[in-house]
């Protein structure tokens, strides 16, 4: 609580204060999880950060929450690479990475929010500049795949550069992977060829049979990446953004 108050004091000092937009609810069919006969899940109205949390924003959080600093954070909550190359002064507007699930959750909680659910994240990320759900459009998928097909380069993380989608959100694709609150709720099994099997241990709901869209390679990769993580994991290309209830 004290930390929260301290943070509130620090907010005006944020170099890049987070912009937030409200997403209207709707229905969405994610890659995994639908029951037989079910065409979509309802998604409630929620608010989401326009950009991934920046290094400057995370640095301000560390000021108020020294327990999360590199070397201070408990080893049960972060792995060895936590904030390993973190230098807020360098590219302060760029997304913070090398942050564990626990650290990301703590940050969002301190901001009065939470991590988005996978369903909310995928719902938001299915939009492009003109369509709310472009997830079945070939041109949209190919654009995302083109990013996955580029190797990481020095300087890629300097700043979010992608155009805003119809909700006003930036850089959901093409910059970093992002944590979701239930990232490990759906497992792409380590072996892709078993995805066709019904696996009650991995799939919610009986009778779930693999993915809804076999051709959505970009979504497969996101689910695969999430499945490879543990909550302590920190990756050089894994960041996060926060979600908020509409009436907090």
């Amino acid at each position: 609580m004290r930390a929260l108050r301290l943070l509130t004091l620090l907010v005006p000092a944020f170099a890049f204060a987070g912009e937030v937009v409200t997403l209207p609810g709707g229905r969405f069919a994610p890659l995994f999880g639908l029951d037989v006969g079910q065409s979509a899940f309802p998604v409630g109205t929620f608010r989401l950060d326009v950009r991934p949390v920046s290094r400057a924003e995370f640095a301000a959080f560390l000021e108020g929450n020294p327990a999360w600093r590199k070397g201070k954070a408990p080893k049960t909550l972060v792995d060895e690479r936590y904030l390993a190359t973190f230098t807020p002064a360098k590219h302060p507007a760029g997304p913070v990475t090398q942050v564990s699930y626990f650290a990301a959750r703590a940050y969002c909680a301190a901001k009065g929010g939470r991590l988005p659910s996978t369903l909310e994240w995928e719902y938001a990320a299915a939009a492009d500049e003109t369509r709310r759900d472009a997830s079945r459009e070939a041109d949209f998928a190919q654009r995302i795949l083109d990013w996955y097909g580029q190797p990481n380069r020095e300087g890629d993380l300097e700043q979010p550069g992608s155009p805003r989608n119809v909700y006003g959100l930036e850089a959901l694709h093409g910059l970093v992977w992002e944590w979701t609150d239930d990232f490990n709720a759906v497992f792409v099994s380590g072996d892709n060829r078993q995805d066709g099997d019904t696996n009650p241990k991995f799939m919610c709901g009986s009778g779930a049979t693999g993915s809804a869209r076999r051709e959505d390679y970009a979504a497969f990769m996101r689910y695969a990446l999430r499945s490879s993580l543990t909550p302590r994991s920190t990756l050089p290309r894994l960041g996060f953004r926060c979600a908020y209830e509409v009436n907090p």
Binding site: R81, A138, A141, Q142, L145, D146, Y148, G149, Q150, P151, N152, W177, V188, S189, G190, D191, N192, R193, Q194, D195, E215, Y217, F220, M221, Y223, A224, L225, S227, S228, L229, S233, T234, L235, P236, R237
Partner: protein, 470 residues
Amino acid sequence: MNVVILSLALWSLTTALPEEKALLTEPPLVPPAITRTTPARVKVELEVIEKVMQLADGVDYTFWTFGGTVPGRFIRVREGDTVEFWLENHPNNKLPHNIDLHAVTGPGGGAASTFTAPGHKSRFTFQALNPGLYIYHCATAPVGMHIANGMYGMIYVQPRTPLPKVDREYYVVQGDFYTDADFGQKGLQPFSMKRAIDERPSYVVFNGSAMSLVGDRALKAKVGETVRLFVGNGGPNLVSSFHVIGEIFDHVYPEGGSKAQDNVQTTLIPAGGSAIVEFKLNTDGTYILVDHSIFRTFNKGSLGMLKVEGPGRKDIYSGKELDDVYLGDESVATSIKATPATTPLSGIKPDGKALFLANCSMCHQAEGQGVPGAFPPLAKSDYLANISNKKRGDLVEFVLRGKTGKVVVNGNEYNGVMTPVAGLDDEKLATVLTWVSNAWGNSAPAFTTDEVKKLREALPEVKATPNGHE
């Protein structure tokens, strides 16, 4: 004898296996044969690296690799060995990866046990129960894309009784690649999901590049030697009709198995499968490795070379025996009239060489020397010595329309098929023709874009245009 076997068995039960680290090799090299006669615990470390490399001359592609090469490092163990396998995913990589080794007995071939996030490493252990030559590959979702980006290689489980010694062993793996642009488009070419699903590759190559086994990088051997090729097919889609032009495989172990077939011309290698082929080199020359689904070789890059040096055996292959003028084509014969040599022009663009290498060198070879009996030479070629006006038109036609039937060059008759070359506009065609007709001591006035345009427009009409890719 029985006592020896029994005591060996007891020894292996009661004693910890000796440990060793596997020596892994980059293609086309193969680790030396294992001389051990008892099992060992072998540690294998393989690192996944996502990196840009050349798919063809001037064509870049983001490969996902096992060890930084396509195919990945060659692994050699012995039947009965216990293999401690480490998969390391480099921290700079974007994606999680894993490995399914077809040599593994167990669920997924190790895939689920090696599922590894970037910046992590995984370990699992298996016993190499079955001898043979096996593909390994990544099986992470979407599995087809991981394979299409180059994530495959081979592991050889050497039988307890090894195959006979040979002079040289090499490692060759075919793979198909999918880019939006057709073969030869320069620059970084992204993966095309659509073409991959449609199974319409733009590249079919050996060892990850159209250039991996040509020129200086050709496989080498000497007359009288025996060669064993460990050949695989990573796929992801195509099946290979593997053939070596000018050789007959003395022995083939089809599908990488234990029984040999003798005297084979072409062997079928399934996607995710292999073959071991052996042959003795009886005479000298350049032998061409191809996928005999032959458009892949001429138009998509599946061409490698084995250069064999040493004294030729004229009794086995005579070489050119007849050197005579062929009078069947008057225009060719009469056009060899001497005309004053023209000085080479200043307008020769360096792009010509790149265009030549990308479009012509697969058949006519990098130095224009051609392949005896198959593709006529362009270097030191009497056909290009004095180019008449009619022949300037012929050259444009050959490139754009292809050429079927007899051609006589330096007295040698060639009776083959030249396929049309796609993707050359008038300017590029003029550039490459000018370069070819002035390289290697050839000399002719430059082809201008205007001239090529006129010559193209003067070509006889064709009823059905050969279809492009779209």
